[in-house]
Amino acid sequence: MRRLVTTAAMVSVLAGAGLSGQVPYQRLVDAAKTPGDWLTYNGGYFGHRHSTLDQITAANVSGLAPAWIYQVQGNGQMETSAVVANGIMYVTEPPTTVTALDPKNGRPIWSYVRPMPANLRLIGFPATNRGVAILDDKVFVGSLDGALIALDAQTGAVRWETRVADNGTGHSVTMAPLAVKDKVIVGISGGEAGIRGFVDAYDAKTGKLAWRTYTVPAAGEPGHETWAGESWKNGAGATWLTGSYDPALNLLYWGTGNPGPDWNGDVRKGDNLYTSSVLALDADTGKMTWHFQYTPHDVHDWDANQIQVLADLTVAGKPRKALITANRNAFYYVLDRVTGEFLHAAPYAKQTWARGIDPKGRPRVIEGTEPTPEGNLVYPSLQGSTNWPSPSYSPQTGLFYVPVREMGSYYYKTDVEYEAGQPFTGGGERRLADEAWGAVRALDATTGKQVWDFRLPSPSWSGVLSTAGGLVFSGSNEGNFYALDAKTGAPLWQFQVGGMVRSNPTTFLVDGRQHVSVAAGRAVFVFALPVK
């Protein structure tokens, strides 16, 4: 009771600063117009992770210093992307905790801690959570035990809770949900447990399921013929990262994961639609408008869940509403997001599995690159040339900034049988970790050609943020959080946070001053320029 009273008192003080508690849908559509907040996982529906804030610049970034640090408790990895709205910062902590912080000083306002069952199953990913969605007066979080929870944005009170899927069969929610109109869109993890993937939409007010679209078609549905026998039933195609949304087209763009089992394709002959693909879904009904499969019959665990970035580009002289993405399979793709038409692809990292991409967008796969019982060396490694950490697209520079993983692996294939709630992978990898390295790489967004490269000692697990101050922020496994010149890649500032940076930076205003946040180790770090 005492906690409630105290919380209410703090909220009233924050509200007294002239802040409303509401984030209506239209504010999410217009997120770019209010850069002082950071309202969705990637900062806006187009997935740019770019901010028009320009107080911190190449000229003054050398003075950037920690404003405060928030330390978390408990096991698991910090992969959260901070959402900031109406003077409150929302971060998530492992296993499934949401904490509201005062961005002025890092002090907690409330915390929602979800107890986890002792027999929690995490098959193929660490105990983590990547962030919340906010809509109206609620924040939404998915849980490791497979639920979706709506919390009061001011107090943390549970408004509703709904079961997305059964954790006993390896389902979890680790991604940050996406709030669209009156719905909350959620994807599922479990691609290494032989689940059947789906994208769900829930009524934001009640938690009632509005629609579900499976990523693997059942008998009688288009695409079912791309699965041998009954293999579709455990075909995976998990949807474990936040999608993008084009309000004008009312289309969601959602990446799908690897087919199951990961490395033994013998039991699932065919293209295995709609795994390792992007799906364009009607936001009201979930109906698939188009699909594009990046890696047909994937046998290397090359999920296509990476952020599907929406950008308006001129491609081959023609203005296009484009979808651009750096895929785990080492190729950069440009698609038409209205029709799904393939426009262009180019390798952006070392790869040894394809001779290129044909005019229809299908890879020309090199014979003999599939996993074998003895091990088969292929680039990239199973974590891919990039992974879940977000890239950034700057409309200002026209560059696409991607965290890169340069590593090869010996891929192994083993026999496998599906058993509910057990790993369903059929092999594994032996990494060439000694010679591996990483980078933040700037690509021309239209051609995918490399413009600059900032080298890291090991394959990156940190997302990238670009700002109108002409800066690119990212991190390293070795604990560097740094700013690069957005045009040249030259390092301008760095701070050693003392733990692995395995999250996505965000930026926002506090009392009118630009701040930058990143989670690393077991803490959230917030930086600002000193007050003059």
Binding site: R2, R3, T6, T7, M10, Q73, G74, N75, G76, P94, T97, T99, P108, I109, W110, V113, P115, M116, P117, A118, N119, L120, L122, I123, G124, F125, P126, A127, L144, G375, L382, Q383, Y410, Y412, T414, V416, E419, Q422, P423, T425, G427, G428, E429, R430, R431, A433, D434, E435, F454, R455, L456, P457, S476, E478, G479, N480, Y482, P491, Q494, Q496
Partner: protein, 269 residues
């Protein structure tokens, strides 16, 4: 005040999680079995079954060779969460709540033991007692100046790995290869690098740490070098290199004796 209460609440939840974790071993269909046989007694059949289970359940995170992936490398002499055989046996059954799944329910005690034995075998290949004269091996150790680079029981210069408990940590086959062909067995934390500043001589040594902006190197003379990456003209990680001399020139009997001696080192100081 609110934060204090939140902290207390979190502490309670964490405590509750910890309590929940304990009955996890007793929760399932099997009683919590004690380790009845040392893992080193596993035969070829046991290890083959353990390997099959490892590939299905563990390789996803720890790599098919144990070299790591999402999870940490298992090719290390000691595990922070499993100090001994019994600890490893428990760990593969119960997992680590919120971090690593346990497979005790699915595997049962016998297969869990086989799995633990296989994991142990990854670092400690060749578990049989080696031939050789232990007392004379000690003489070889001293005569050959091993203590110039290795600590044993608190004595010696700390440049290479501490050998105080090496007999527990590594099997005789590993030790023999590490002596004859050190570059084939470079332990974690002993990567050799060459760095040359834009002005100044090349520095060759063991990499103590490396990030995107700084590299720390200890050279064979024991000197510590802190180098700014932006000021380096050259920086090379030497894959498969070791600063340890190869002892393939030792007489065969001396080599046997040295391996036998190292195999007896169990941590007594």
């Amino acid at each position: 005040m609110a934060s204090l209460i939140v902290r207390r609440r979190m502490a309670r939840v964490i405590a509750a999680l910890a309590v929940c974790a304990l009955p996890a071993t007793a929760r399932g269909q099997y009683p919590a079995p004690a380790l009845e046989r040392p893992l080193a007694e596993a035969g070829a059949g046991d290890l083959a079954e353990g390997k099959r289970l490892y590939n299905a359940q563990c390789a996803l995170c720890h790599g098919i060779d144990g070299g790591g992936g999402y999870g940490p490398s298992l090719l290390r002499p000691t595990f922070a969460r499993a100090a001994d055989d019994a600890g490893l046996f428990t760990l593969v059954r119960t997992g680590i709540p919120g971090v690593m799944p346990g497979f005790g329910d699915a595997n049962g005690p016998r297969r869990s033991w086989q799995l633990a034995a296989f994991v142990r075998s990854m670092t400690r290949a060749g578990g049989a007692t080696p031939p050789g004269d232990v007392a004379h091996g000690r003489v070889v150790y001293q005569a050959r100046g091993c203590a110039n680079c290795h600590v044993l029981g608190g004595d010696g210069r700390a440049f290479g790995p501490d050998l105080t408990a090496i007999g527990l940590q590594r099997g005789p086959a590993y030790l023999r290869q590490a002596l004859v062909e050190p570059a084939a067995r470079v332990p974690d934390g002993h990567v050799v690098v060459t760095a040359r500043a834009k002005t100044g001589p090349a520095i060759r040594g063991v990499r103590l740490s490396e990030d995107a902006f700084w590299v720390h190197v200890r050279d064979a003379g024991g000197r510590l070098h802190a180098l700014r990456v932006s000021e380096l003209a050259e920086f090379r990680r030497e894959a498969g290199a070791s600063l340890m001399p190869a002892y393939g020139t030792l007489a065969a009997a001396d080599l046997d004796d040295l391996v036998a001696y190292l195999s007896t080192l169990r941590g007594q100081r």
